[in-house]
């Protein structure tokens, strides 16, 4: 597509209309709130002040949380890689018995994550957990609080975030040319040598990217430290949350958010550099598909099998227990003792009929659906505009729309709170903090970068002759958009909307900052239940929520990914979200 000069571009009424709305949205919700955080931190009274920094340095709790976050981030980058690479290899590289079953087990993190997963682990391994109850029957003297603190957080987050490896490393592995492996074998290289010297080096760029993402996930972690960290292990984001809630320490919250933001931007810059630098994928034009490698060493083979199945158990046990206990009565949940006749569908009936139990579920569904529709619907026009016109103006717009991609959601949320807790002319003098609208705005904002990239790619994949053919026959801009482009892009748009819907359904990180006190989405209720707020009934409600969420997510995933995979031979899946998805999108939605 030829570059259109900015001046020519704005002559079109369609462009002008979209442009004005876009400019307002970007100014009001992307630029101003975040700039406001900086102002609040460093220029609280219009003059530069280092008070926030002094407060931070003198607050032992805040400093400790900073240290904890970086410790968690560093540890997580190691553990996630170890587990992640291992599960990718056993499911995609080595010939392992039952690899398909293993894959399904490891893929459970696709259908639940974030607060739901943290809650699940707590209900099972926590002080009142099912497994803990069983264990303390066997070992009466044991510490019931054994599963908390740094190690618990690290373990849970490790197993929760291997999703990126399953998506991106596995995909990169498929790009390895099997002929290179045969060539190495032909020259006498062993299984281990081939892995170390041929395969892993080829995965290096991808591994680097997922390592950075793991680091960022650790740095910005909220739900896992909150639920499982206990008193002694708190990290930055929970601190930001605590400080935000009291007006006197808001500057401290802002400073922490800024630190988090700067660290995130730095890491992402490094990652983008690396991505641009060296991808050393296959130099060949015709490469042959990877075939699974047999581990020839019998002992090594046995050890890998054992490790693979132990991991499988770790991954699937929470899911299996949640599903089983979602049918159990509260007595069974408290004691951990379960028998066939204690399994009923009562919990489901209660959740689906009792309005207080159903309410958070409905709130989440409505929020997610509306936000997904707004994000995709609005960006359809924007993406089209950015894809068609290439000039400095659209480039600036595109960069600005990526602000939510480079900033942690805690910072975004904090920005919205402090910008709109008083009448603001940008939104017609309204106060947004404390209303139901502000969470919706945050949801839409957070989903912009992912949606925009996917839609742009989708528009780009449409053959431009179609459009030209329409124009030659006299169709106008809007008519072409509506009759020719939209039908082609719609399947992708639907897929993106579904993925967005999924990721917001169990959102906790944004909602905890912004939700209306009376309109609480699911994530918050689940979190409250982990604190024992609603007693045994709350726990069994959470199990039911989790199962329902898993079903919804699993179904969406199947519709989006599963069907795309079957059409793999055609070009269709390139339009579909999965393949072009950048690592960060998935990660941030589940941290």
């Amino acid at each position: 597509m030829n570059p259109t000069p900015a001046r020519t571009m704005v002559r079109s009424p369609f462009v002008l209309f979209v442009g004005v709305i876009l400019t307002w949205f970007i100014a009001a919700f992307l630029v101003w709130p975040n700039a406001n955080v900086l102002i609040e931190t460093f220029f609280p009274d219009g003059r530069f002040s280092g008070r926030a920094a002094e407060k931070l340095l003198s607050s032992e709790r805040a400093m400790k949380s900073l240290g904890n976050s970086f410790l968690l981030a560093a540890a997580l980058s190691v553990t996630v890689n170890v587990v992640g690479i291992f599960i990718v290899l056993v499911t995609h590289y080595f010939r392992i018995r039952g690899a398909r079953i293993l894959f399904l087990g490891y893929a459970t993190t696709f259908i639940y994550g974030g607060i739901v997963l943290a809650a699940g682990y707590k209900f099972i391994y926590g002080d009142k957990g099912i497994v803990t109850a069983l264990l303390s029957d066997a070992f009466p003297g044991m510490d019931r609080n054994w599963f908390s603190g740094f190690l618990a957080v690290l373990v849970v987050m490790t197993f929760a975030t291997t999703t990126n490896h399953m998506l991106f490393v596995a995909n990169a592995l498929k790009g390895v040319d099997h002929q290179t492996i045969e060539a190495a074998k032909n020259m006498g290289a062993s299984t281990w040598t081939i892995l170390r010297r041929i395969v892993l080096p080829m995965l290096k760029p991808t591994l680097f990217a997922v390592t950075i993402l793991s680091f960022l996930t650790g740095l910005g972690a909220l739900s896992a430290p909150q639920v499982l960290g206990g008193r002694e292990f708190q990290t930055i984001t929970p601190m930001i949350l605590t400080f935000t809630n009291s007006p006197t320490s808001r500057d401290l919250a802002a400073l922490l958010a800024v630190i988090l933001g700067v660290a995130t931007i730095l890491m992402l810059t490094v990652m983008t550099r690396m991505e641009r630098g060296g991808t050393n994928f296959s130099v060949s034009k015709v490469s042959s598909a990877l075939e699974k490698q047999k581990i020839t060493h019998p002992v090594g083979n046995a050890l890998v099998h054992v490790a693979a199945y132990v991991l499988f158990a770790i991954y699937t046990l929470p899911v299996a227990l949640i599903v089983i206990y979602s049918f159990a009565d509260s007595a069974a949940i408290q004691t951990g003792q379960i028998s066939l006749d204690s399994l009923t569908v009562d919990n489901y009936i209660r959740v689906l009929t009792q309005s207080s139990a159903l309410r958070p579920f409905v709130v989440s569904i409505v929020y997610s659906a509306v936000a997904a529709a707004i994000a995709v619907g609005g960006l359809l026009f924007v993406a089209r505009l950015l894809q068609k016109h290439r000039n400095w103006l659209t480039a600036v717009f595109e960069y600005l729309l990526h602000i939510p991609w480079i900033l942690p959601s805690a910072l975004l949320a904090l920005g919205l709170i402090i910008s709109y807790d008083h009448p603001n002319p940008l939104v017609g003098g309204a106060v947004l903090t404390g209303t139901t609208v502000i969470l919706l705005i945050a949801f839409v904002t957070v989903k912009i970068p992912f949606t925009l990239r996917m839609l742009k790619a989708s528009f780009a994949s449409v053959n431009s002759s179609l459009e030209e053919a329409g124009a030659i026959m006299g169709a106008g801009t809007l008519y072409i958009f509506r009759r020719i482009l939209l039908p082609l892009v719609l399947p992708t748009a639907a897929a993106i909307a579904a993925l967005n819907f999924n990721s917001m359904l169990d959102d906790y990180d944004t909602a905890i900052f912004l939700a209306h006190p009376l309109v609480q989405p699911l994530g918050l209720v689940i979190k409250a239940n982990t604190d024992g707020a609603e007693g045994a009934e709350g726990v069994s409600n959470t199990f039911v929520y989790t199962v329902l969420l898993m079903i919804i997510t699993g179904l969406t995933m199947y519709l989006v990914y599963g069907r795309a995979r079957r059409r793999d031979a055609s070009t269709a899946p390139r339009n579909g979200a999965p393949k072009d998805a950048a690592p960060k999108d998935t990660v941030l939605s589940k941290s």
């Binding site: 040319d177 002929q179 045969e182 060539a183 020259m187 290289a189 080829m202 296959s282 060949s284």
Partner: protein, 355 residues
């Protein structure tokens, strides 16, 4: 040097190669030729040790290697896409096998530089990343990487297939030169008959997992043992039995009118061939002529056959379409095959070259 004995290869229910017998001599450039899916690559990979045959034995240098892994067979291989390791430099690629063998670094370096020089790779190219090399240079790296381990046999799996036509011609030459310089026994797989004819000492023509003929390029071309070989290689016209009877009438009558008969396009001419008295003149009408600069292609209908022939543009006879013409054909050039079995008939020399 290489002997494949009663090799059978199956993939699940599919039998790729039912029964294969082949023998390759020391120092020979031996080509496996056939259309895609004919089993030639399967045969090569069986030889390389990447495929376990369901039955049969592979012998290299008199030793059975059927159960040996690839790296114990002393075969070097150049893959279709060269399979260069993208994460390593040229030097590291070539030295890979030596490092695996735990060769001393100094010795490795000497061997790598030595082989690089022989395949015309400069010292500065050795430091480059493989992605920075041209297709031709990549091929030389792949050859060097295979040869540095001093294999007994070099296997080449369509190494020219992903290059453009011009480069392919050039590299074909280089590859052949390298082979004769090193004198290494080479098995080459291709679907390009031109390549096979120009490079090989001997060719085995594959069809549906079966070797149809083994022979020198000239034998394969001029004395195709089966109808498949005849039609797969070169360009020929189908002769009607009427046409064949006409030839018989004007010669000693050795051709079989009932057989499927073919004549290579370059074997018919519009002028009587000098010095050959057995050429039979056949009358016909010119159907079409297409001009190609170097030559023209004619189609002449005579006795029911659409005879195609090449006429050199040297200022000789050039009838226009619609005109009458006389085509000269030597009966010995007619290739005849049994309609049932597809095997050559009437020419015992042809049948002899069938394996």
């Amino acid at each position: 040097m290489i002997r494949l004995e009663n090799i059978e290869v199956t993939f699940g229910n599919f039998t790729a190669i039912p029964q294969l017998n082949l023998e390759v001599e020391r120092g020979e450039f031996f080509t496996l030729l056939g259309p895609s899916g004919c089993g030639k690559t399967t045969a090569l990979r069986t030889l390389a040790g990447f495929i376990d045959p369901a039955a049969g034995e592979v012998f290299i240098d008199g030793k059975a290697v059927t159960r040996l892994p690839s790296d114990k067979r002393q075969v070097g291989m150049v893959f279709q896409n060269y399979a260069l390791f993208p994460s390593m430099t040229v030097w590291e690629n070539i030295a890979f096998g030596l490092r695996v063998r735990k060769e001393k670094p100094a010795a490795s370096d000497r061997l790598v530089r030595d082989i690089a020089q022989r395949v015309d790779l400069s010292a500065s190219q050795l430091r480059k990343n493989v992605a920075e090399l041209s297709g031709g240079q990549q091929q030389r790296v792949a050859v060097a990487r295979a040869l540095v381990l001093q294999p007994k046999i070099l296997l080449l799996d369509e190494p020219l297939s992903n290059l453009d036509a011009k480069l392919r011609h050039q590299l074909r030459q280089q590859l052949k030169e390298l082979q004769s310089e090193f004198g290494i026994t080479t098995v080459y797989v291709t679907h390009d008959q031109d390549e096979a004819l120009a490079m090989s000492d001997r060719i085995a023509v594959f069809n549906k997992g079966v070797v149809e003929q083994v022979g020198t390029p000239q034998t394969i071309y001029d004395a195709s043992a089966t109808e498949f070989v005849c039609t797969f290689i070169g360009d020929s016209s189908v002769l009607t039995s009427d046409f064949v009877s006409e030839l018989n009438r004007h010669s000693d009558g050795t051709l079989a009118p009932g057989a499927n008969s073919y004549l290579r396009v370059e074997k018919a001419s519009l002028t009587p061939p000098a010095g050959n008295t057995d050429a039979v003149p056949v009358r016909g009408v010119v159907v079409s002529r297409s001009y190609h600069g170097l030559h023209s292609r004619y189609t002449v209908r005579c006795h029911g056959s659409e005879l195609r022939l090449l006429v050199k543009e040297d200022g000789g006879v050039h009838p226009v379409p619609g005109a009458e013409a006389t085509v000269y054909v030597r009966p010995v050039h007619v290739l005849q095959y049994d309609p049932q079995t597809g095997e050559a008939v009437g020419n015992p020399a042809l049948a002899a070259s069938r394996p």
